[in-house]
Amino acid sequence: MVMEEKEKESETIRHLIDQRLKARVAAAILPHPLDAHLDEDSICAFVEGRLEDAEAVPVTSHLVVCTACRQTTAQLIRFESQFDSQTESSQDESPGRVRSLLDRLASHVTPAFEEDVVFAYQSPADEPDAEPANEETSENPAD
């Protein structure tokens, strides 16, 4: 009986905290101007657990008050857990996708009048038969 009461008491406080925290976050007006957010470097160092205690103090304090930065860290943690289940075959080449990606990117950054220029450059990592034999159709791993 005492245990039940304790459990109920514990549930009540959890619920109160849950509601109050959400209410406070939802009601909060942006506490920081946009340029005061943590940068990717700091977020990465924090999420990877590389900061020493003293280094982490301002970051932790920032995360407590800045919903945007905290959400970024939370998303990284969540997505990383999901992502880890898939292989990170970073060394595999996928020329088909790269070609289409770079096609689009090049169209953004290459001036139109230079589109037809012929390059004599030989890549150091050149692969003579790197042209796609078959287009890779990578499935969204999250699906």
């Binding site: 008491e9 959890r14 470097d41 160092a45 301002p58 932790t60 290459t110 390059f119 150091p124």
Partner: protein
């Protein structure tokens, strides 16, 4: 005679990336870095003109601290040079000067250690040496060379990280086309389209080597995906992103039966008094927590992280949250051992107890309520819709907590 052939698009792009201002040149010009070291250093320093984190020291304190800092940093120069030598030997084509490398290390130390010590004193030589030894030096070397537009560096970056960038972007974006768009945006950002004093502002310049380049890329890509959806004015919710598999869980509303509350025939004045006392006491209790405790609560209740996900962030033995809770705990155990979900749950329960004790004390001492009135406060708070902001989304209700607790006990028993 050297054979001349048409390059692949990829070769052409990397060649383009290697040029200092993103302009194609005639084919006979070698791919060398044309940006002067002076301009690079100046541009690199520009980004640190604005401090990200607050620094409340006075000017005199800062001047003294900076002078000591520079002395202590100079004492570590040989260590930096040794790292540089090793990196240069590993990547002889990157054409990065020792001056540039020293400058980057100096900025990293300044960013993370200046003002991070107790009393805002300058970091000691030992602290700086430790920090430097922990840098992801090869990643930093690669990023610096890429920022300078060095072509072999871009090839190396492309070879090592492209596949990861693509799969991570595909993991974050729900549609393949969105991922492609985000990847394009990331590459453009890494290359840098803005120019200051004639120097391209490559995103690589913001990488300090404190974390891994891959971890940094994860964050850059995440921001790119978020910006992409924001740009389309598409509402992004964590629920949408994580709706796959077992992550999607509908959490029912607060299940505790509030028997008898209908019988509480109180005037609105009395109700208001109890409600405001409850909120004030709860706010006071929450604000009395340490930042680490608050962050833990926010991750769990507001951001909807699961115990096992929080356990991941404290997996690293040096994680500040982990170390903080271990310092508070009497059961320290092995500081290098794995943190299980049960450990995170215990941390949470301790925070709940702390809030609960303070909450009761506040209501009793500051608001003069007796035990029965405190119970009424809690019942009212539980049924007060004004406090139930977005309760339907990721509510950490009793069932969820109990379920996760049962899971962690099973894990505990098995381990």
């Amino acid at each position: 005679m050297k054979s001349v052939r048409s390059p692949t698009v990829r070769e052409g792009l990397i060649r383009l990336l290697a040029l200092p201002n993103g302009r194609a040149s005639d084919t006979s010009r070698p791919f060398r870095n044309a940006v002067s070291t002076t301009l690079i250093v100046r541009a690199a320093l520009c980004q640190y003109n604005v401090r990200t984190l607050s620094d409340s020291r006075t000017r005199a304190e800062i001047a003294l601290s900076e002078s000591t800092f520079l002395e202590n940093l100079a004492a570590c120069e040989s260590q930096v040079d040794a790292i540089y030598t090793a990196c240069a030997a590993a990547f002889p084509d990157f054409d990065l000067s020792v001056t540039d490398f020293r400058g980057a290390v100096s900025r990293a130390v300044n960013k993370y250690l200046a003002g991070a010590t107790r009393d805002n004193a300058a970091p000691s030589t030992r602290e700086i040496a430790r920090f430097i030894s922990e840098l992801q030096d090869r990643d930093l070397y690669l990023a610096l060379a890429c920022a300078r537009g060095n072509e072999p560096a871009w090839w190396e970056f492309d070879r090592k990280h492209r596949s990861f960038i693509e799969s991570w972007a595909r993991h974050l974006a729900r549609a393949g086309t969105d991922a492609d768009e985000a990847i394009d945006a990331v590459y453009v950002e890494l290359f840098g389209t803005k120019s200051v004093d004639g120097v391209r502002q490559s995103k690589f310049r913001t990488y300090t080597g404190r974390g891994t380049l891959r971890g940094w890329l994860r964050t850059v890509i995440l921001h790119a995906v978020v910006d992409l959806y924001r740009g389309r004015q598409t509402e992004i919710s964590l629920d949408d992103w994580t709706a796959s598999g077992e992550e999607a869980r509908e959490r029912p509303a607060w299940p505790v039966a509030l028997q008898g509350t209908e019988d509480l025939m109180m005037t609105s004045l009395v109700r208001e008094r109890y409600t405001s006392a409850t909120k004030a006491a709860l706010d006071q209790s929450l604000s009395a927590l340490d930042d680490h405790e608050t962050l833990l609560l926010l991750y769990y209740h507001v951001d909807g992280l699961k115990l096992r996900e929080i356990a991941r962030i404290v997996e690293e033995p040096r994680s500040p949250i982990r170390r903080w809770f271990q310092r508070q705990s009497k059961r320290r155990g092995d500081s290098s051992s794995r943190v299980h979900e049960s450990t995170v749950m215990r941390w949470l329960e301790k925070v709940y107890q702390k809030v609960s004790s303070r909450f009761h004390a506040e209501l009793a001492d500051k608001h003069g309520l007796n035990a029965a009135e405190i119970e009424i406060c809690k019942v009212l708070a539980a049924e007060d819709p004004a406090q139930s902001v977005q309760l339907e989304t990721r509510a950490r209700d009793s069932d969820t907590f109990m379920e996760e607790r049962a899971d962690t006990r099973q894990i505990e028993g098995a381990s």
